[in-house]
Symmetry: C2
Subunit: 335 residues, 2 copies
């Protein structure tokens, strides 16, 4: 079933059918109705590939997730992001092509994306400070939006969580509770969120006129096992609070504190970041920073559609706010 056949059934030309399907205003009302009737009757759906080829727009958006960093896919961040993107695409009548860029295919992936003709633009969930994927995209001419800010390139558009502010608010909270040796377990410093959350930690100390004690800063790797072992290294330095840059690391840190015979929050206040589902189920429930992951996804979609339609617009940068989620692990109720 194609345009030609519909045209025949309706007694108009292929062009007119096309106009009707595309809601072109220049069609006689009665013609339009006649065509629609047939279209619906035979359950006709135009071939999207042909449409894309002819019109130069496929209404398909690519979602690129570089898997290089780790098996981050077992944590809910990406699934939730995918959900946000997908649902915004549904709402905007777009389809989504998913590219999980495994390291061994990364080069091929990025080429495919840019030259496939299959997508009108891409949303890239890059996490690294200096991602070759982003580099390559920036050199091509496919519209794209980053989820996660880009630290240097001033010409890319992105949406990000306010990681710095979230961390800052959390550390300020811990200080306000009277903790004096607030340590932090950071994320990898080659990851933007890792760097930004550390910057927030420093800023909070600075806000209070406190000096950063390098002894109290240790770098984790965003895994539970990493959180555990790094917390063990931290314990002899006697922190009375720890801001952990991710919930999953916080769970590991919690175990390490327990295994050392210390109590949370009495002896060590603990706070995470992300507000993952397990955070509220942990024992004690984990104080953390909530980020608007779904909204990042849908915002990215809207930005991308806008960029596709206005390729020459200036780069947009949107930073979404976070929210403090205070539970038992920080000892707010001990005061």
């Amino acid at each position: 079933m194609n345009l030609e056949e519909i045209a025949e059934l309706t007694g108009v030309s292929r062009s007119t059918v096309s106009r009707v399907i595309n809601n072109d205003p220049n069609v006689n009302e009665s013609t339009r109705e006649r065509v629609w009737a047939i279209v619906r009757q035979v359950n006709f759906h135009p071939n999207a590939a042909a449409r894309g080829l002819a019109a130069g727009r496929t209404r398909v958006l690519g979602l690129v997730i570089p898997m290089g960093v780790s098996a981050l896919f077992t944590d809910p961040y990406f699934p939730i992001l995918i959900q946000g993107v997908s649902s915004a695409c549904n709402a905007n009548d777009q389809s989504v092509m998913l590219w999980l860029a495994e390291p061994e295919y990364e080069r091929r992936t990025i080429r495919q994306i840019m030259h496939s003709g299959l997508i009108d633009g891409a949303i890239v969930a890059s996490m690294l400070m200096d991602d070759p994927v982003v580099q390559a995209l920036a050199e091509g001419d496919l519209p794209f939006i980053l989820v996660g800010r880009h630290p240097t390139n001033t010409r890319v558009s992105y949406v990000d969580t306010d990681n710095l502010d979230g961390a800052r608010k959390m550390v300020a909270h811990l200080l306000r509770l009277g903790r004096s040796r607030v340590a932090t377990i950071t994320g990898p410093q080659n990851m933007i969120a890792g760097a930004d959350r550390l910057a927030g930690y420093s800023a909070a100390l600075h806000d209070r006129g406190l000096a950063v004690d390098l002894e109290l800063i240790v770098e984790g790797d965003f895994t539970e096992a990493g959180g555990y072992s790094v917390m063990q290294r931290l314990l002899p330095r006697r922190p009375d609070a720890v801001f952990v840059a991710s919930d999953i690391m916080a769970v590991g840190a919690l175990r390490a504190i327990r295994d050392a015979g210390l109590r949370v929050p009495e002896e060590i206040a603990l706070a995470g970041f992300d507000d993952m589902p397990f955070a509220e189920r942990s024992e004690p429930p984990l104080t953390t920073v909530r980020q608007p992951t779904v909204r990042m996804g849908s915002t990215a979609v809207e930005m991308l559609i806008d960029l596709i339609e206005h390729p020459d617009s200036a780069p947009h940068r949107i930073i979404l706010p976070t929210e403090l989620v205070v539970r038992k692990s920080c000892g707010s109720d001990l005061q």
Copy 2:
């Protein structure tokens, strides 16, 4: 940059360039090399949409996940499945189009999928006994593979986990440990995995010549909160072991048992299903059944490619084995 331009640069016809790109054997070796050299030099990639239109094959596979059931997306099953599918697609030089079918868009989604011309076939992760999406697909002529068996339609191909056998092995294990009142918290009985795991429970009792006690069977909803409340209902009936049809429900059940002042595994042995990441972190670590989710994804891809290339082959059904993961919560070490 298109075929025509490459042809011009090489001094051959568009047809020949196309043959080279598609590894057609009927090309002179030296011509082939000359063309490849140029293709690489200008970093040419054929337009996939045009290719799909002309050849009738896009090398894009659809992955359809009906989101109707629940926000199942916060558990790692789907992400891991997506990963398996995506990585097998990469390995087979296919791209993947992701359709998260939200209930409100389900009808449109399925139409889009079938008529888009964008994909050569679909992998459908359906969970319901009687899914309208599967129904619709079965009536169309797009090749598709189900992840999760179909109970009635004998003409669809699928890959599934051996849910029945996994449950059966687990319950047999609990019985072997000397537990005499083995209860089960099932999944929703309109979901295939829910039904199959209950069937496995019954089979294990039957294998031992034991009668099923309906008092010891309660239906959960695959959520933690559900596991909690349903376990509360179960407690007065004094089970000494509970096979819970999913890890997330098992975590809820564990909390309910604790809150009632009972000990796991001493007073109640507990076992889950799925082997999710948090299962080994639970306290005590959860005995469970591991299913090969990644392999289901990659198997589905291979089956689909096969089906696309041999549309008339008989339906295939592949059931992958599970593995018992024995940890502390079942009390194996109490013996």
